[in-house]
């Protein structure tokens, strides 16, 4: 074909600058604390009990966030083999394998981004298996390697309707972490501080939800690809005032776009839902491809996973237990299906893209017939693309591109 189309530009957000600073400060604060010992550092899984840790004065570092950075910088694909070589299979979580590979090779994206030499050394490792078992194995490796205690919450799995015994159990497990954490921090647990962290986390979550739901507007003011970048604070700064401030700013900007009819994708023709993990190393390429096809990926299960508006400072343990149990990833198939149907009501998308991530079965919901069922029930087409969150050896870009293009052609024809 003679003419090559110009690359559509991603419309940047003004709040992007604030986002950059917030993320940088997060890492500088951790780096400083790790070096000076001024504050204790807890490593926490992305949907782990961060509020408790904050409430107990820990600085919180999220290895999954580091994993995503390894993916986005495409360092992951080079580093994964080093973890494979010490016995961690290429078939398991590629956050885990790339992160361990990064540790073994003493290479981190933090160096280029922030001039930080290494990830902050933990004083304690805290997981919640609500998302998967891999996080426990991941943290246990560091526990052995660095001789640091590892503690955690073991969740019920594939939950349908939530039962009281499950909430009681999880709330108790969260509470039971306190003595071990007190031992590490050397401070007594302070209920008021904990409640404050829960309240701030809730406020962050509410604002994050409002930002995500702004994509219900036609045209949508932002895309899933934008949201994967702007979700940083929802993960690393929930339970802080900075997180709250940030999403107030972003929400105002989204509203501004809606009011003036500015869409993220010029001439938005199709609206899509993304189910599954991002393909971190290919966010830009995918975002550009969808934009050039006038398709806006308006919503995703992934970005929605950091909405915890169940938090209630008056019942901090129970409400945390509810929030971390109601989570999509812990639920059974009927719940998940209904969840996506509800999203369809809100966001009115024309099709769903399932990402089958080779190394994360937990976030690959195409494997038990859900795409077919949803397509039938919602009367919209679905597409599954094969790839991975971090391991680009599992991704055929050409194949994925053709599939996406053909999917949009199908939408055009119908």
């Amino acid at each position: 074909m003679a003419e090559e189309k110009k690359r559509p530009l991603r419309k940047e957000f003004k709040s992007g600058k604030v986002l950059k600073k917030l993320m940088a400060d997060h890492f500088y604060e951790l780096d400083e604390a790790a070096k000076s010992g001024s504050k204790k550092i807890a490593w926490c899984t992305s949907v782990g009990p961060a509020e408790l840790l904050r409430g107990m004065g820990f600085l919180v570092y999220y290895p999954e966030n580091h994993g995503a950075m390894l993916g986005a910088t495409r360092m992951a694909t080079e580093l994964i083999p080093y973890a494979n070589a010490i016995g961690y299979s290429p078939d398991i979580c590629s956050y885990l394998t790339s992160d361990i590979g990064s540790f073994l090779q003493k290479r981190t994206p933090l160096t280029k981004a922030y001039n930080i030499e290494s990830v902050p050394k933990p004083d304690v490792l805290v997981f919640n298996t609500n998302q998967c078992r891999d996080v426990q194995d991941w943290f246990s490796w560091y526990s052995r390697e660095l001789n640091v205690p590892v503690i955690g919450i073991h969740t019920h799995r594939d939950i349908g309707p939530i039962r009281e015994y499950q909430i009681k159990d999880i709330a108790k497990q969260i509470e039971d972490l306190i003595p071990a954490l007190e031992k590490v921090s050397g401070e007594k647990f302070d209920m008021d501080r904990f409640k404050e962290a829960v309240a701030l986390s809730r406020r962050t979550s509410e604002l994050w939800r409002a930002c995500l739901e702004a994509a219900a507007a036609v045209p949508s003011p932002w895309t899933f690809f934008d949201a994967t970048i702007h979700m940083g604070p929802a993960v690393v700064a929930r339970g802080t005032q900075e997180g709250v401030d940030y999403y107030e700013l972003l929400l105002a900007e989204l509203k501004e776009r809606i009011d003036s009819g500015v869409g993220a994708v010029d001439g938005e023709k199709f609206r899509l839902y993304w189910e599954g993990m991002p393909i971190w190393g290919k966010l830009r390429a995918l975002s550009e491809q969808f934009a050039s096809l006038k398709a806006c990926v308006v919503a995703s299960t992934y970005c929605n996973s950091w909405i915890f508006d169940q938090f209630d400072p008056e019942e901090p343990f129970e409400s945390m237990a509810v929030a971390y149990t109601e989570l999509f990833i812990v639920r059974d198939e009927p719940f998940k299906e209904q969840y996506i149907r509800d999203c369809h009501d809100l966001f009115r998308f024309d099709g769903i893209i399932f990402h089958d991530a080779k190394t994360c079965p937990n976030n690959s919901n195409n494997r038990y017939g859900m795409p077919e069922r949803l397509s039938r029930n919602l009367g919209i087409p679905v597409l599954t693309i094969n790839g991975d969150l971090n391991d680009l050896r599992c991704y055929s870009e050409e194949q994925a591109k053709t599939n996406i293009e053909a999917f949009i052609e199908q939408l055009e024809e119908s």
Binding site: A2, P381, N386, T402, A406, Q410
Partner: protein, 268 residues
């Protein structure tokens, strides 16, 4: 000189196919060549050959659409469509009915479902690897040391099928060597190789309605169609030139938008 001719170019990973349709949608010229590494050049040569066959000059072409893996590398096409859409269009042209299309190409397989109006219901491509595609057959022919074009005849003459277990092309190669060592007959192994291709297809999707098979592998190995027919216990339709369906679909797309005389011409 009358215009009203439409060209479809299908640059596949393995072969490039070009067709010329007249205004009555009849196939009047075509060419097939190895895609090689210079897609633009191969497409150009195929276009010249198919024009010669049709007895027309470039000035008589109204429009051209390209498809396939190298669709963006065809300088003389006015636009592109994916091979999925083109196969669907091409098959529906020959068989206007609800159908499941099974296309076995050089490096990928596709299953496309159409309703009675020819609208696409869904489609699937094989996953990243070449299991069950033309590339798999080529590799097995190499291991068995038989020319690719003899495979069909050999499979047909088999009396005792030898099944292969793995779906990995490389492991299947090892398995083939193992079977040879065990003294199994080549025709029986070849039939097993065909069955492996069929199994990969059956894993991809349920085959509903009328099944239409296309692609180079089908063009050169009609016995594979016979085998699948027996397994699914259903009629299978195959267009006259199964390898050209994608290119025909592209030419039909060219015709739909062809009244604007969009043909951009050829290089020297």
């Amino acid at each position: 000189m009358a215009r009203g001719f439409f060209v479809g170019v299908d640059v596949g990973a393995s072969r490039t196919k070009v067709v010329v349709l007249d205004a009555g949608r009849s196939l009047v010229g075509y060419a097939v060549r190895k895609s090689g590494t210079d897609f633009a050049k191969t497409a150009d040569i195929c276009l010249r050959e198919s024009m010669a066959m049709a007895g027309i000059s470039p000035g008589q072409i109204d429009n051209c659409i390209s498809t396939g893996y190298g669709r963006k590398n065809v300088p003389f096409s006015s636009g592109t469509k994916t091979e999925i859409s083109c196969h669907a269009k091409g098959c529906y042209h020959y068989f206007p009915m609800a159908m499941t299309i099974v296309d076995i190409g050089g490096q990928d397989n596709k299953i496309i479902k159409l309703d009675e109006q020819g609208r696409r219901l869904n489609f699937k491509m094989n996953r990243k690897c070449a299991a069950g595609t033309g590339a798999f057959l080529e590799e097995m022919a190499l291991r068995l040391d038989v020319p690719l074009e003899d495979m069909d005849g050999l499979a047909q003459s088999s009396e005792n099928l030898v099944e292969l277990g793995s779906y990995c092309t490389v492991f299947s190669g090892t398995e083939v060597l193992e079977k040879i060592r065990q003294g199994k007959k080549v025709p029986d192994i070849v039939k097993g190789v065909f069955l492996s291709v069929i199994k990969r297809v059956l894993e991809m999707d349920a085959l509903a309605d009328t099944v239409v098979m296309t692609g180079g592998v089908v063009a050169h190995n009609p016995y594979l169609v016979e085998m699948l027919k027996e397994i699914i216990d259903n009629e299978i339709l195959v267009p006259e030139y199964p390898q050209l369906t994608g290119a025909v679909g592209a030419a039909l797309f060219a015709m739909e938008n062809g009244d604007r005389k969009q043909f951009v011409g050829m290089g020297a």
